[in-house]
Amino acid sequence: MSIAAEAPIGGHTASLWRRYASGDRRAVDALLNAHYDEFRRIARRVLNGDAVRLRIQPTDLAHEAAIRVMNARGDGPDGRTHFLALAAKVMRQTLIDEVRRARAKKREMPPVLTGWMDPKAPALDIEALDVALTRLEMVDAELATLVERRFFAGLSIEEIAAESKESASTVKRRWRVARAWLANELKSA
């Protein structure tokens, strides 16, 4: 059974990262194992809804993300939240690439919607969301990062607060700002 217990990135994992950064490719597997479940959880979030049409399995996406994250040398992740946020970003990017690739091949392909497993939640066009997020990045890059962490990586307000050294109430308020702004962008798109 490969479902590992949640592992912090400190200690052993940090040394794994250092080993990987110094060229030890075996560390990839170990790192992936340590965060396997979280990667898959994020992949499932990103891949919800009818993204299945792209025929990507959450596991594939998680693996793809792991490899890309590991390849991101130089500014490698320095903490669990950063690590996971980066994974979410990579997965989202992979998904968007996939959507665009598929769309280029089949011009008639309808938008790929993403929706959360809660069937009552409205569906989102994953590309429109990506465009809105890119615009947000231009207006306020920090808010865009917050969306990455909170929405895609599914990190808690407290985790993000601890990492950014802000108060939980500030993080929460800023998340509400970002969310309202994005929702408005998506509605007017």
């Binding site: 898959r40 998340w175 509400r176």
Partner: protein, 798 residues
Amino acid sequence: MDVARERRILELLDGALGRPAEERLSWVAANAAGDQDVASAVIALLDREDSARSLLPTERSAAEAEMEFVPPERVGAYRLSGLLGEGGMSRVYLGERDDGLFEHQVAVKFMRPTYLDQRARDLFDTERRALAKLRHPNIATLIDGGIDATGSPYLVMEFVVGVPIDRYVADRRLSSESVARLFLQVCDAARAAHQSLIAHGDIKPANILVDPEGRARLLDFGVAQMLGDAGAATGSIGEGAYPVTTAYASPQRMQGARPSVGDDIYALGILLRAMRSAAAGVGAPVASSDRERALDAVCAMATASEATARYAGVDALMGDVQRWLARRPVAAMSPDWRSHVSAFIGRHPLAVLAASLAVAGLIATSAVMTGLYAEARRERALAENRFEQVRGLAKYLLFDLYDHLDRTPQSLRLRQDVARRGQAYLDNLARDAAASDALHVETIEGFLRLAAVQGAPGKSNLGDLVAARSNLAKSVELARALVARRPGAPQAWLALARALSLASDFAENADHDVIVGERDWLASQDALAKAQRVGAATPTVQSLAVETAIVGASLRGWQGRYAEESALGQQALDGWRALPPVVKASEMGRLTAARAWSLVAEGAYYRGDAIGAERGYREQTSLTDALVGGAGNDPIALRAAARADWELGTTLIEFGKPALATATLAAGARLAQHLIDLDSEDSDALRDLRILRLAQAQALAANHRYLAAIALMSSQVAEREAFARSHPDQVQALRDLAVGRAALGDILASANRKYEACRAYAMAKTDFGEVSRRGRLTGVDVTYAVKQMVEHQHATCH
């Protein structure tokens, strides 16, 4: 986008949200520094802030949280050992059998846990049982399933090693012909399932694996339907919540319809298209020749948006692909072709007019050809329809209708007629060389059924042994051919085991040919073991094992190996006890147990074990009496009860309880007479009555009522003589006569009428000699009937 303005809006929004709700509006107005446009934008955002929560939810929904489940370490006999894959609705783990019985790997699929109420659970169980019956070489078999302790429904499926069909096709760059042949395997699986009224509902490359030998296997049959039904029953998902793979879903499925045959045809059309483009390579267009266009037309017809414009069934789709492979015109081309002509005329009226004289001949030919295509298409549709009807009819006649008639008195003529018609249909089906495996199995079972109906020993039958033997031989031959062709198909081996078991039964009980009986029985045991090795479902193997143990026990009895007879009878009983309760409670189930007890008792009887024999036979009569009590005029129950009474009665005579025996045998004779009253042509009942009368005479003699005994037995011998004379081909009749004469001799001897007794013995000896000369003297005859007769003759006549 005005970045500065947006920044300002975000800033104000942030500030407003930091204030209590009632102060926000005034705070925005005060801080917007007179910019009315920015202020109203912020106010609009504040208004919608609540609804944004649901658009970008961060709380994990209950369903998502439930997905985070940890699977149990094991289900049933299987230890879960690794994640094979996951999708939106499920996770699949590898399961390995670890009870040491045999090595076996399975795929265990856990569905997204949802709260399932009892109704939904029942539905899940019912449907998965239906799915478990689905056997086809191109379908990954559903082995087991259930709902684990945490409420997750799971399915245990055959573990298939292979790659998704589109990758297989792409990796090997298959030719269009190979693609078409591989596609036909998938179609055949769908066709077999449709015959069991199961639609796949989610046919797509990810659900079709091809193993290294090139055998395609369809996974997850009916799972979409099952999940949808269970969900709809709970109300946890509404109507139209059957899982859908968008690219492969028909317009009807997209609207939330329950999966149907038409949807599978649609998905098959998309699949063929996908396989062809995968074979052509990424980005490369499929070659555009006339030949490829014909296949395009097949795909187009399968994927017509109106379900009625698609192929009517998978058979029709397969027919077109087969025609394409045989380089014959495909049906899908004909309407298309006609529309090409009319489109041409529509676009170039002048050109057509100008050229009309030149092409008059061509147009005329085309019109005729179009007509012919249309005609051919109708004909084919009719033929396919007829085929399905014939198949359905054969099944109906031989199983449902015959069963019904079998319980209807005086239906002999009708039953003969039904069997004759069934025979004609089956012969037609058997001639179809291109038939699917499923149809072959069906045909084999049809022939077996017909053979049983025409002459199954010891059961109600039409008394047509010649036809029965011929059908039996056909079924054995077809089954052998099928296992040679499909050595990995459990249902082929099961069919062979069944056929050989019935062949052995015939050999021993109708022909009294124990050598052939032994050979066929051993072969049936081998086939059964083989079926089990290639993965036949345990309950099917178990019930067939019980059947063959009974045939084997009876065989051992005929061979005079009585200890083995009892042991095999006991083995049948032990196996019977492990069968599902619903099977055991059925009439068939109770008759099977009765028969097993009878064999246990018979073995004991011939070994001189009076207590064991009486006990076994009493068990048998109590089972059959209960059946008669509950069924009134049911001939099957009446016959079984009459025979049970005979067995118990004769045992009681033998072991010194003649008074009890007389009563039991009289009861048995009444049952046989009842059967004859219901149907005067019931040859089995007539023979049973003869046998019971003989025993009655013996019981009377044992009670010292000699005159009555001699009168009864003399009339019996006369009757048997007449029957043997009118049926010279039946060795059985001659043997019956010999046994009758010997019995008469015994009664006369016990009445001290030695001269008459010795004459009867001498005649019996002659008749037995004739039976022996025809090579049909059995172990029982040699070690028991003949031996006893010779001893009695010796004691009386010298």
